[in-house]
Symmetry: C2
């Protein structure tokens, strides 16, 4: 057994260096990673697998340019709910998460309850989405639409090593 309660061990600076590379390009050969972080490729491999198994690495994904696949519109939506009853919140979460055009969904404190990032082929598709998810849900009090003009920075990469 390693240690720690959350099911995963601590990460050392090698792990962080490897993650940093994989966050930028997970197709980088383990041999090259090894050269850059000063480890054998077998060691890199073992650490990678460990981090996969422990859930440090959530997944490995190709990212597609939405404009190239007929989804030129990105919209940020702030959703305000009527009631914060747990079962109603869960229902809302599920309906948002299950919708394929909802790319991201955050449940937040503050002046809104949910923030959604959605990608749609057209504004009328967005309108359809609002009917589906908001007007069709009695617990949605109101929502604010922010249409994205420039996706200045996107990604899921995270700062490492400065924590």
């Amino acid at each position: 057994m390693r240690d720690s309660s959350d099911g995963g061990g601590r990460l050392d600076s090698f792990d962080l260096a490897i993650l940093d590379i994989l966050q930028k390009d997970n197709g980088t050969p383990q041999r090259v990673i090894g050269e850059r972080v000063n480890l054998s490729s077998a060691a890199v491999h073992r650490r990678m697998r460990r981090m996969q198994d422990e859930g440090v690495i959530v997944g490995n994904f190709a990212v597609v340019d939405p404009r190239r696949v007929g989804l030129p519109f990105t919209v940020v939506v702030e959703v305000h709910v009527e009631s914060e009853r747990l079962d109603l919140l869960d229902a809302a979460k599920r309906s948002f998460a299950d919708d394929p055009q909802v790319q991201q969904c955050y449940y937040v404190t503050g002046e809104a309850d949910f923030v959604l990032i959605v990608t749609v082929p057209s504004m009328s598709a967005y309108e359809a989405l609002t009917r589906r998810l908001f007007f069709g849900n009695n617990n949605v009090k109101r929502f604010r639409t922010l249409v994205v003009m420039d996706r200045v920075k996107t990604g899921l990469a995270v700062t490492l090593g400065e924590a």
Copy 2:
């Protein structure tokens, strides 16, 4: 030359099927992809490279669980600027995009000007970020902080084939 103005050809249903798999797991062997979409692995390979070259595939990334690397707080920030002068907007975009704790940045129309998704190790780190990016920028009129309680759905995957 294929066709189309945007430098990329059209995607057929094979391409979309391949992308769909790669969006979920880009480590899937080409042989397996081929079996699933009914194509030889060489065909899959050629299509993958084409889509890479054309920029349909933006990149290949490992995604790290922020909580496992000392970044337990996600915050959504709405930023309102004073002036929409182009040079000032560009300066703001740059400063947001260059900050490593800013994971995503969208320039939007509507009731706000920017929406940022940030990941931080602590709320005091968030406070430091606000000083750095907002209080330190005369063009930022005000900002609203929405602290994320539940990252209901994250990712960059996109609906394919229903466009």
